[in-house]
């Protein structure tokens, strides 16, 4: 099968209009004859469910939490971008497009990104109409801030809870549609397999997490919006329930997985404090506007921060990047922190942290000014670490935060499996090798509110979709496979806890395929993951039964999928012998140690086809064509 991205012809700015015009429509009175399954109720799934139901489709929506409002999108803090140009500072659709393409290190499709920038404004309008309480100026107009190093102020926000408010907006629309009977909502359900009939996605198998029963659902199209896979690294800023299961099972059923090695590591997280640690907490990167990053010059320096004199400190970012200093992009800041720690100059009990020091800022502006700007964050840091950042420097360390890779989709957001659509963080589409701050929320909502409602109709109107029932043999087969796998997990009764094995996988991934990767480390990981997977399947302990609420069983299933998926991620990283965005291959760097892209060889999307567990996946390349932007190397010196 060759990959057809279905990018519409014509000038960039007209592609989306032309495409919408050319797509087949489903007659309004016929829409109620179509059933659509949406898995996930985050920004992407919630907005898609609501929009499709409003159009008249019968929607069945699933999530693993007890309520759709708890999807992980709720945790996003900073904001959402849109090319509104309200501050009149020179923003435009084109500039947002350009920034996103460049920020993604030229590894995303121009057409998709342009469309994203085009619809960004509608998102803000739509959310405002729903009652999302965006921050406002005294005149009553919407407020903007600049975010993630952008030169214009285009980020809309609701205090530090933007994701929450946007998600509650989508959730309220979704619940409204549940109320009128257009959406049937299934909470505490986990999708465990995709059902493919005659080459088309036609249904899913889910486990009812309360009763443990397997349930079958049939539809004319399936939409996955199940979020990212950061938790393959065990420790990340993601919620505990975030998983790759739905995507991975779809991948095993034929959907290609694109660019899994593009992962984003956020530099300002609260470091690990012990082996009981279950997740990492992100602190807004705005802290780097006033904080100075440093480590001691001497290795293994055990003195308290305040006892280390100025001349024995290494403000390494300011030293290496005089013009950007502490404000270098996320990946550069992260990598340098790692280097310092690897060099034995890390601080704190675990020696894997660097200082983020506000002493100078406090001396300059006074504690009150700093409190006004960062009071919340300082408070959160204090609660978690019991250390007062007004008195001693914060300790920070990078953590896995976002995954740009995901299931491969075409311009219509349809995967390589007809009838299977993928939205939000679960797809690979818009961020290339690196995502800009405040762009994930934008993408999730763009996909759900403004893309899928148009593109799904074309498939429903043109594909041959005979009626099938849940008694179809493919349903029976899929359910049987899922049940068998579950029974196997329950019967191992080994010695190791699930978390223990998950931690081991996470550490393996982090050490060998984390902030910096090289051929040797990747090969090592590729060798070790299958062994660990085997250990998992022989020695994990999963208590209880399958016929009840069993959180350990749920977790075991997810970790089992990470054990397979991790291998794909590493294979992809090994294949890509260039550094780009969040993917830093040590072999591919400039003399000064900066990332070096190799556009001639790697300007493609790597879409992987599943060949069997433990078998090398098959690579399909989608060449990226840049007609509108000129490719340049990033430099922050």
């Amino acid at each position: 099968m060759t990959l057809d991205s279905k990018i519409p012809a014509g000038p960039l700015a007209e592609k989306w209009d032309n495409h919408r015009f050319q797509s087949k429509l489903v007659n309004p009175s016929n829409k109620r004859k179509y059933d659509v399954i949406v898995v996930g109720t985050g920004l992407a799934g919630g907005s898609a469910s609501a929009s499709l139901a409003e159009l008249g489709y019968n929607v069945k929506t699933f999530c693993i939490q007890d309520s759709p409002r708890r999807a992980h999108s709720i945790a996003a803090q900073g904001g959402i971008n849109a090319a509104k140009n309200y501050p009149n500072d020179g923003d435009s659709v084109w500039r947002l497009f350009y920034d996103t393409i460049k920020g993604g290190d030229y590894r995303a499709r121009e057409a998709n990104v342009y469309r994203l920038a085009q619809v960004s404004s509608n998102i803000i309008d739509q959310c405002t109409a729903q009652g999302v309480p965006f921050a406002r100026e005294y005149g009553g107009q919407l407020a903007n801030r600049s975010f993630g190093g952008a030169q214009v102020s285009r980020t809309f926000y609701c205090r530090g809870q933007t994701g929450q408010q946007l998600l509650l907006g989508a959730y309220s629309s979704l619940m409204r549609m549940v109320g009128v009977g257009k959406v049937e909502l299934f909470t505490r359900r986990e999708m465990l397999d995709l059902v493919v009939i005659d080459g088309k996605a036609r249904g899913i198998i889910v486990r009812n997490l309360v009763t443990g029963t397997m349930e079958r659902y049939v539809a004319d199209a399936v939409v996955l919006a199940t979020g990212g896979y950061s938790n393959v690294y065990y420790l990340s800023t993601n919620a505990k329930g975030c998983n790759v299961t739905a995507s991975w099972r779809a991948h095993k059923k034929g959907a290609y997985f694109a660019n899994p090695c593009y992962t984003q590591i956020h530099p300002t997280c609260i470091p690990v404090s012990g082996d009981y640690q279950s997740k990492l907490t992100l602190m807004s990167e705005s802290l780097r506007n006033d904080g100075r990053v440093w480590v001691p010059k001497k290795k293994g320096d055990d003195r308290a921060a305040r006892d280390i004199p100025e001349n024995e400190r290494d403000y390494y970012l300011e030293r290496k990047y005089p013009s950007f200093g502490n404000l270098v992009p996320r990946d550069v800041a992260s990598r340098n922190a790692k280097e310092a720690c690897d060099d034995g100059r890390g601080v704190g009990p675990s020696k894997t942290a660097v200082y983020l020091d506000f002493a100078d800022a406090i001396k300059r502006d006074g504690e009150d000014v700093i409190r006004q700007k960062y009071g919340n964050l300082f408070h959160m840091y204090h609660k978690i670490t019991d250390e007062d950042p007004y008195k001693m420097p914060m300790r920070i360390y990078p953590a896995l935060h976002y995954t740009m890779g995901g299931l491969w989709v075409d311009y219509n957001l349809m995967s390589s499996l007809p009838g299977l659509y993928v939205l939000g963080e679960a797809n690979f589409s818009d961020h290339g090798a690196n995502r800009l701050g405040a762009s994930a929320l934008m993408q999730g909502l763009a996909d759900g509110y403004f893309v899928i409602p148009y593109t799904i109709g074309d498939h429903l109107a043109t594909a041959d979709l005979p009626k099938v029932s849940t008694d179809h043999e493919e349903f029976v087969k899929a359910e049987k496979e899922v049940s068998e796998r579950q029974n196997k997990l329950l019967s191992i009764n080994g010695k190791r806890t699930i978390a223990d094995l998950h931690k081991e996988l996470g550490l393996l991934m982090w050490d060998n395929c984390g902030m910096a990767r090289n051929e040797a480390s990747l090969k090592k990981a590729l060798k070790k993951i299958p062994d660990l997977r085997e250990e998992f399947w022989n020695n994990v302990k999963v208590p209880g039964s399958g016929e009840e609420l069993n959180q350990a069983l749920e977790y075991a299933g997810r970790v089992a999928d990470f054990m397979e998926f991790g291998e794909l991620l590493v294979s992809d990283a090994l294949d890509r012998k260039e550094s780009c965005g969040g993917h830093f291959r040590e072999e591919s760097q400039t003399e000064e140690g900066e990332a070096k892209r190799k556009d001639d060889d790697y300007s493609y999307v790597a879409a992987w086809e599943f060949q069997g567990v433990g078998k090398a996946p098959k690579l399909h390349k989608e060449e990226l064509v840049f007609e509108n932007v000129k490719l340049t190397q990033r430099s922050y010196k």
């Binding site: 907005s47 609501a50 409003e54 939490q65 007890d66 309520s67 409002r69 708890r70 992980h72 709720i74 945790a75 309200y86 803000i124 309008d125 739509q126 959310c127 405002t128 109409a129 729903q130 009652g131 309480p133 965006f134 921050a135 406002r136 100026e137 009553g140 107009q141 919407l142 609701c158 205090r159 929450q164 408010q165 959730y171 309220s172 629309s173 619940m175 409204r176 549940v178 909470t187 309360v210 919620a239 505990k240 404090s273 012990g274 009981y276 640690q277 279950s278 992100l282 609660k383 978690i384 019991d386 509110y449 806890t497 978390a499 223990d500 302990k541 208590p543 009840e548 609420l549 350990a552």
Partner: protein, 252 residues
């Protein structure tokens, strides 16, 4: 100062909604004071599993105080002894060595126990479904700046909208009343011109749904506000009382 403590835990165990529950007494040893409360439970559960016993089920997800999933009554207080935070943000340094810690689920008829410490909060979703939205279809919304909103109102709306739907208000209320939750949504939307249009129908429908779920009524005791991890004010309840009265008197 020692960095670890020992605790006696009283953990609520209940197989299902219709089964009788009981407390499991568990001696938790060498708990790091830097661990979060849920991490402490993780450790306990791992130990239980290693011993071949079933772990205690509890809800959690984001572990940073925003998803509203975690729901533990710790020593008689929803989300535990520290104010303005959720159970997942609570740290073990708030406990003394040798202390006995009681851990119970949200207790309310409208929140039946699913298992152990996990309860079913579907009632909240059904209340939102009854009216906690603006009746606006996707597409065709006017420019976001077409309707200026006084900063004060936007901030007040945001204060109310900060609710994470965890249900601590119900758990804390002596009557298991859901007034603070419902009032927060009613207030959030009626503070904004977009939502004010249908404020009458909204408050009538949401209160009706709330009453049908079997929550108690409000005696204005203020436990909800005191225990709310987002410190949402009971002034929202007054606002809802006002709007409900106006809506009832003017509806046909």
């Amino acid at each position: 100062m020692s960095d670890t403590i020992n605790l006696t835990l009283k953990l609520w165990q209940q197989k299902g909604p219709n089964e009788k529950g009981r407390f499991l007494t568990y001696e938790a040893k060498n708990i790091s004071t830097h661990a979060s409360f849920l991490e402490m439970l993780d450790v306990v559960n791992d130990e239980l599993m290693e011993k071949g016993e079933e772990p205690i089920a509890f809800d959690h997800d984001c572990r940073e105080g925003i998803c509203g999933m975690c729901s533990l009554v710790i020593n008689g207080r929803p989300h535990g002894p520290d104010g303005g935070i959720t159970a997942c943000q609570l740290h073990m340094r708030k406990f003394k060595d040798g202390e006995t810690v009681w851990i119970e689920p949200w207790r309310a008829k409208a929140f039946p126990v699913v298992r152990d410490l996990v309860v079913d909060r579907g009632a909240f979703d059904r209340i939102i479904q009854a009216g906690g939205f603006v009746n606006v279809n996707n597409g065709g919304a006017a420019d976001a700046n077409a309707l200026p909103i006084p900063k004060r109102n936007a901030e007040a709306a945001m204060d109310a909208a900060a609710c994470i739907g965890c249900g601590a208000c119900v758990a804390a209320c002596r009557n298991a009343s859901a007034m603070l939750f419902v009032a927060a949504k009613v207030s959030h939307l009626s503070f904004l011109p977009q939502g004010a249009v249908e404020k009458r129908e909204r408050v009538l429908n949401m209160v009706k749904a709330m009453d049908e779920e079997g929550f108690g009524s409000c005696t204005n005791g203020g436990q909800c506000e005191a225990e709310c991890p987002k410190e949402i004010s009971v002034s929202n309840i007054a606002r809802m009382n006002r709007e409900y009265l106006a809506a009832s008197l003017s509806s046909s």
